[in-house]
């Protein structure tokens, strides 16, 4: 903990940053009373190669304050989103640079129009992205359910050059920029003690983080998604898998356009990620056929907050590794 920032230009600021990181409100309060502290923190962190971001939550979704050009507000950290997604309600004056039909689902033939735009700058703490393309979509239904103003989603491509560690218990997000030089050897100070965590390989598939595992002798391909509150499992998986699921009740999920769909809610047992048994993992069982691509490759499930919050968890998107604290 004493060397969170280990890049030489910032060494002298280590004690100050530590002090500020501790004193900064973990769950930011309603009124911005600690403004001087926050401003000071941001001054040091701006343009830096690492930062510790206290986050708040809407339900179990991670909210980060970010700025897109001149518009500042809450963005959801969503590793299930490919990149930057803007809520069109607040970015309606941006020119739509691409208005294409993207075939998102091979076997169902679902086609949806994706509006895109170019933004000048996205910035939050030590993260700055200039001149990037963003999707423009209506995120009003998230606002309506959560009662929180949501300006957009910060997706995977924004974080690809970082080592990212999520600590739900303390509501802190750690980001370390992976230097281009010796990128494969990079490890932040939090990962120095290798006995504290397990390392699990990940891969990036269709702009999503995927981990592979086995259950009941069957291979499973699961997405790691901070934008999903619940874990999900495809109802079309082999029956052997469901021998490990204790069904608790039937539920109704609301999909696009307020359409309701039946699903089952239960506990998944005996799942291991890396060497760690996840214990009794709450899971929604639903039909995930719309995740399939044209080549019939599908995902088998999603690991969301109910999994991510079990332990401190980290990702290195350059080396394609996931770190799960013991």
């Amino acid at each position: 903990m004493s060397t969170i920032i280990h890049f030489s230009p910032y060494k002298i600021f280590v004690p100050i940053l530590l002090l500020l990181a501790i004193s900064f409100p973990v769950c930011a309060e309603k009124y911005p009373d600690p403004i001087p502290v926050a401003k000071l923190f941001q001054t040091f962190a701006a343009g830096a190669d690492s930062c510790i971001i206290p986050f708040s939550r809407a339900g179990n979704l991670i909210l980060i304050r970010a700025k897109v050009d001149t518009t500042e507000g809450n963005f959801i950290l969503d590793t299930g989103a490919p990149g930057l997604v803007l809520n069109i309600t607040y970015f309606r004056n941006y020119p739509v640079t691409t208005d294409i039909n993207e075939e998102q689902s091979g076997i169902t033939g679902t086609v949806s129009a994706v509006k895109k735009t170019e933004i000048g700058k996205l910035a939050f703490d030590c993260v700055t992205s200039n001149a990037i393309t963003a999707d423009l979509v209506n995120l009003g239904h998230i606002e309506n359910v959560r009662g929180v103003k949501v300006f957009g989603l910060i997706g995977l491509s924004i974080l690809r050059q970082f080592e990212m560690i999520i600590d739900y218990e303390n509501s802190l997000l750690y980001l370390y920029r992976i230097p281009k030089k010796n990128a494969s050897a990079f490890k932040s100070s939090l990962l120095k003690d290798v006995s504290a965590y397990n390392t699990v390989p990940i891969e990036i598939w269709n702009n999503k983080i995927v981990t592979r595992t086995m259950l009941a002798g069957k291979k499973l391909r699961l997405i790691i998604d901070t934008g999903a509150e619940s874990n999900m499992l495809d109802s079309r998986l082999p029956n052997k898998i469901f021998e490990n699921v204790e069904i608790l009740r039937r539920i109704k999920l609301t999909g696009a356009g307020d359409k309701k769909v039946e699903a089952l809610y239960g506990n998944l047992n005996n799942l291991t990620i890396g060497n760690q048994n996840t214990g009794r993992l709450p899971v929604i069982i639903t039909n995930l056929e719309k995740t399939c691509l044209a080549d019939n490759s599908c995902i088998d499930g999603i690991l969301g907050f109910d999994f991510l919050s079990l332990h401190k968890i980290g990702f290195n998107f350059v080396n394609n590794k996931m770190f799960i604290w013991k």
């Binding site: 004193s23 769950c27 809407a58 009662g147 934008g227 609301t254 999909g255 769909v261």
Partner: protein, 480 residues
């Protein structure tokens, strides 16, 4: 490709039949079977025909299957209602009843917005956060007793953290000033006395500079900007039931909590049962449930009749609004009914005066609709032609400039359930206005000009709706 799909489909059907046979065998071996399982992408429910009624009811409650009406299906043998819901009867013989249904996907989770909604936590409340109007509340603490109250002073208590150097208390009661209220250390934690009025108060502890919600307080609230705060309700009403000390459980249910029969457990005292709550201005009806028996409050003489030909006890907090109807002096019975009493037409009987009829009724801030029934016939509102609108404590004015030749302009939104004509706007100068009471948070609305729904031309924020015509969006922050 199509041939391949056909083959797969046939293969799956064959599997289902084999499974169904297996179900029969299993079920015949055990006639009191009840199971919910998933096979080949389908849900299967198997119920033994000799399963006792209460056991079946427990199964229905556990898996939330009330809409299937399994009691009737098993009793009458009719499965039409199940078929309509998409269930397929696999087996229906003297021993066992097995039904199945495919699980469908309606959401493309590659769309991040849809995926987030789809993958909500089913355990959490997915109701819209309307800023919690704070009309009703009670404290739910774990690991510690509720804060002690002496007159108007509340003693806030933070359990533990005795190694901390300083602990401050900040909240809506001190404008969130981080250093204004330093807490005092005790043997078991930290305390601070705060003078405050009844109602909803937000707070956080600042432990050595670190802002923390009260982890022992189960009431938290997101402020709409993504920040969580702890919520404390300073009570202003004590529900009290004397006696019944041998009862196992006493529950309070009323209009303030949607008559929920489980939520509000009363606390046992040496002489009876009590529960302290906060109730904002308004009229509330309630009853006690003593070991499942509903009871009118014997200690409260104020009561109104209910649909069971019994009485609900009544609490009125605040100054009443006087509903008036001029004339109709020959009428025998005049009844007031509105959304504030769930349109009950046998509850609020108006009293005759020298000039007409009146009825005092206490209402909190909000938008209401009502009708008056005179000897069984409704009066009609002169403006809207329907219900009469009453706005108590308006705090926001909808304005639409222009449209000087329009004959009828109204505003509709989530605040009036999108009712077309109820919120009729009045012409003032070069604009149409309507004064409403809005709750904190997001609102969606549209204007209706001579029958045509339009977005608010004075508001650049709008979002798409299910009709692809858009709704204007307003984030309302009332003056504190």
């Amino acid at each position: 490709m199509r041939r391949k799909n056909k083959f797969i489909f046939k293969w799956l059907r064959a599997c289902c039949i084999v499974l169904a046979i297996l179900f029969v065998q299993a079920a015949q071996a055990q006639v009191d079977i009840k199971s919910y399982s998933i096979k080949n992408g389908r849900m299967f429910i198997a119920i033994g025909k000799k399963l006792p009624k209460d056991s079946l009811q427990n199964f229905i409650v556990q898996y939330e299957l009330a809409d299937l009406d399994l009691h009737t299906c098993l009793r009458t043998g009719s499965t039409d209602s199940l078929n309509k819901l998409g269930w397929k009867v696999e087996i229906n013989n003297a021993e066992v009843f097995v039904i199945s249904k495919a699980l469908f996907s309606v959401t493309n989770i590659d769309d991040p917005g849809d995926k987030i909604i789809f993958a909500q936590n089913p355990k959490t409340d997915s109701q819209p956060n309307t800023g919690d109007q704070g009309r009703f509340g009670y404290n739910r603490f774990k690991n510690k007793v509720p804060f002690i109250i002496l007159d108007s002073v509340v003693r806030f208590f933070l359990r533990g953290n005795t190694n901390a150097g300083t602990v401050n208390l900040a909240g809506s009661f001190n404008s969130w000033q981080p250093t204004a209220l330093q807490m005092r250390k005790t043997d078991s934690g930290w305390i601070a006395d705060v003078k405050m009025g009844p109602g909803k108060h937000l707070y956080k502890f600042i432990i050595d500079g670190d802002w923390r919600i009260d982890r022992d307080n189960m009431n938290t609230e997101n402020d709409g900007m993504g920040n969580d705060n702890s919520v404390y309700y300073k009570p202003n009403y004590l529900f009290n039931l004397e006696g019944y000390t041998s009862a196992k459980k006493v529950v309070l249910a009323g209009s303030f909590n949607g008559w929920n029969e489980r939520d509000l457990l009363m606390q046992k005292t040496s002489s009876g049962w009590k529960l302290a709550v906060f109730l904002s201005t308004g009229t509330y009806t309630y009853r006690f449930i003593v070991d499942r028996n509903w009871l009118t409050d014997p200690g409260n003489p104020d009561k109104l009749s209910n649909e069971f030909n019994e009485f609900n006890s009544v609490i009125r907090i605040g100054t009443p609004y006087l509903f008036k109807l001029d004339g109709f002096l020959d009428a025998k019975q005049v009844v007031l009914q509105g959304d504030f009493n769930n349109w009950k037409d046998d509850e609020l009987f108006m009293s005759k005066t020298a000039a007409g009829w009146e009825f005092p009724y206490t209402l909190g801030a909000g938008n209401y609709e009502y009708k008056i029934k005179i000897d069984g016939k409704f009066t009609r509102d002169m403006n809207s032609g329907g219900n009469t609108v009453l706005v108590i404590d308006p705090n926001f004015t909808f304005r639409l400039k222009g449209f000087e030749n329009a004959k009828k302009v109204s505003v509709a939104g989530d605040f009036n359930n999108w009712t077309t004509n109820s919120f009729a706007m009045k012409k003032e100068g070069d604009e149409w206005i309507f004064k409403a009471h809005l709750y904190k948070g997001k609102h969606r609305y549209k204007f209706i000009v001579d029958g045509e729904w339009i977005l608010d031309p004075g508001n650049k924020l709008w979002e798409q709706n299910e009709h692809n015509t858009g709704n204007s969006v307003l984030w309302f922050e009332p003056d504190q």
